[in-house]
């Protein structure tokens, strides 16, 4: 599913970072561990095609990311990758439901309303679907962000520090939720984090 080999990325000419080679198979989950500044986010962004211009190989679904043009990459990302960030970054001008609708619209996929309703109710935010995102709680907002990441049924979910700002109880709830939605969507979950609480939950770990 995911294959990283001899990957290096240069921020500037002198500041070059290299990553260990590894691969993740389908429906396998993986932690990218490392302290701040170790390049977790950079690796995640490289894997998600948000950052280009690397040397080495990043193959998702046997496709080398650098072989695609930017427009192709945008399209590929929309259909194959769901992102979850530490901050939810919901679109505040839209309702909960419309935040979910944006994802298939931007990816160029028709909206599957029944699937959307199911995701909303699975994540217990169905009754808030018509509310503006400014009107819901922090926890609900995070669930909307998770729903948005999986709404297109992507084979890969990339999460950047989804739990580090949460207390133990919420941390456990979120990771359980993430694993559950990944399971349901048959997706590979990659979490970049320095949160040691997750180490006992996901076995496969890459230390950066």
């Amino acid at each position: 599913m995911i294959k990283i080999a001899d990957l290096t990325y240069s921020y500037t000419q002198k500041h070059i970072i290299s990553f260990p080679s590894f691969s993740v198979s389908k429906e396998e989950h993986c932690l990218l561990l490392g302290e701040s500044g170790s390049g977790k986010t950079t690796l995640l962004h490289l894997m998600g095609g948000l950052l280009r211009g690397y040397s080495g190989n990043i193959k998702l679904n046997n496709t080398e990311l650098s072989s695609m043009t930017e427009v192709e990459l945008d399209k590929f990302r929309g259909r194959n990758i769901g992102f979850i960030f530490q901050k939810n970054h919901l679109i505040s001008a839209l309702t909960v439901e419309d935040n979910l609708r944006v994802a298939p619209y931007l990816a160029g996929i028709p909206v599957d309303t029944s699937h959307m309703q199911k995701v909303l109710s699975d994540l217990a935010i169905a009754e808030k679907s018509k509310n503006l995102v400014s009107e819901i709680s922090q926890g609900q907002a995070q669930r909307v962000a998770i729903a948005r990441a999986v709404i297109n049924r992507p084979p890969i979910i990339l999460a950047d520090e989804p739990t580090s700002a949460l207390d133990d109880k919420n941390c456990e709830r979120v990771i359980t939720l993430l694993l559950a939605v990944a399971e349901q969507n048959k997706a590979t979950l990659i979490i970049a984090t320095h949160d040691h609480r997750l180490r006992s939950i996901i076995r496969k770990q890459i230390q950066l």
């Binding site: 950079t42 962004h45 950052l51 990302r77 530490q86 839209l94 419309d98 944006v102 298939p104 990816a107």
Partner: protein
């Protein structure tokens, strides 16, 4: 979910900002459009009223007043001219047609014009009801008068001296013989009758014999060239003016000089005088135009600043949208769409305000109603205004759109 829904949601999320921008630009566009509607319609009215009239000859005085009085019927006569003198001018080979006008009376602010059938023919008016005047004191009404006063064929009324209501009232009664169809010219606001009727009203106190018509006299008397029912060379009668049509372009050079050379007559060119009037009024119009452009400029600036600032706040939105598969071009287009949607709405609001204003104004000002100004007319220039506001929207949103296009998603999402 589509582009317009997304753009609309963003506009709706900041209602006050959006409304302010729309109101500002709409006002600017409304002022421009009102000026356009007025000046266009005035120009059209003036040219249709002055059509076929190359020169107006009246008593010595202001040439502008002669034009305003005898063509547009909104000013008072400069005085009277002797019928015999007028006839002498008419003999000139340079003149194709000369129509006499005898003014002085009105009814309910509508002017009574003593003239010949040629005046009505000049404006190509047809009859809605009835027909031509036959004898003295028979009149034909313009469409607006019949409507305003609810007159029909057979109605009678007494005229008053001057143009205002409540002036000295004459005793003889006018009888309506015909009502004309709307011609959208000044004729719609005129009560037209024979020159003799006007003389008759003013001769009431004196002996009536002098004004005896040609039929009652012996047939050897030559009829007047101007007023076929009246004998020629009558120096006791007066008219207000002559509307003259040239026979050739040569006349434009020679005739005014010949007429102005005579001590008691004044020639005035409608084309020249209306052009002069426009230059005088033009200053006011120009000031309003400048004001409108300043408004439009400020609103454009306001839209630009609003988009620029909101794009700063929306960096994360843009980056998230990219992460969900939106291309750079899509974000670029969405920002441009936001700008043009704003200006397009403003433009439609502005045009509507302008037409509504021009529609309402004649109800408040009787003069505008008389002039036939209407808000229900659309000019092709309004398409230009629409296109210009679309262009303005593109211009205002170009820099923010480029900003959106250049968003470094990774940097924004990394949160540094």
């Amino acid at each position: 979910m589509n582009l317009f829904f997304l753009v609309w949601s963003y506009l709706k999320a900041k209602p006050l900002n959006t409304i302010l921008n729309i109101v500002l630009l709409a006002l600017g566009i409304a002022v421009v459009t009102v000026l356009l509607l007025f000046s266009k319609q005035f120009e059209e009215k003036i040219s249709s009223n002055a059509k076929g009239i190359d020169l107006v000859v009246g008593a010595k005085g202001s040439p502008l007043q002669i034009i305003l009085c005898n063509i547009f019927h909104i000013d008072f006569p400069t005085g009277n001219i002797n019928l015999k003198e007028a006839e002498q001018i008419t003999k000139s080979r340079l003149i194709k047609k000369a129509i006499p006008l005898a003014l002085g009376d009105s009814y309910e602010t509508f002017r009574i014009v003593g003239t010949t059938k040629e005046l009505v023919e000049l404006y190509k008016a047809d009859f809605e009801q009835g027909g031509w005047w036959v004898g003295k004191m028979d009149v034909v009404l313009g469409a607006n008068i019949a409507e305003a006063l609810k007159f029909v064929v057979g109605s009678e009324f007494e005229s008053t001296h001057g143009l205002t209501q409540g002036g000295h009232s004459h005793e003889s009664k006018f009888v309506v013989k015909g009502i004309m169809k709307r011609s959208n010219t000044v004729l719609d606001n005129l009560i037209v009758t024979s020159v003799e009727s006007v003389w008759h009203v003013h001769d009431e106190q004196g002996s009536d014999e002098k004004s005896a018509s040609i039929q009652q006299r012996d047939s050897t008397v030559t009829p007047s060239k101007l007023i076929p029912t009246h004998p020629a060379g009558d120096s006791t009668k007066e008219i207000t003016s002559l509307l003259i049509q040239y026979r050739s372009a040569m006349a434009a050079i020679q005739l005014p000089r010949i007429i102005n050379g005579q001590s008691r007559l004044q020639a005035a060119s409608p084309a020249f005088e209306t052009a002069r009037l426009f230059t005088i009024l033009g200053v006011g119009v120009d000031i309003l135009m400048v004001f409108a452009y300043v408004l439009i400029f400020i609103s454009a600036l306001s839209i630009f600043i609003a988009l620029y600032n909101s794009l700063k706040e929306r960096r994360y939105d843009l980056a998230i949208m990219r992460s969900m598969g939106a291309s750079r071009a899509k974000l670029f287009i969405s920002v441009l769409t936001e700008g043009t949607t704003l200006t397009l709405i403003s433009c439609i609001v502005g045009l509507s305000i302008a037409h509504a204003l021009v529609l309402i104004m004649p109800l408040l000002f009787i003069e505008m109603q008389k002039a036939g100004i209407t808000g229900l007319i659309f000019y092709s220039e309004e398409w230009i205004i629409l296109a210009a506001s679309l262009f303005l929207g593109l211009l205002c949103s170009l820099v923010p759109a480029i900003q959106a296009y250049r968003t470094d998603i990774s940097k924004v999402l990394a949160g540094n």
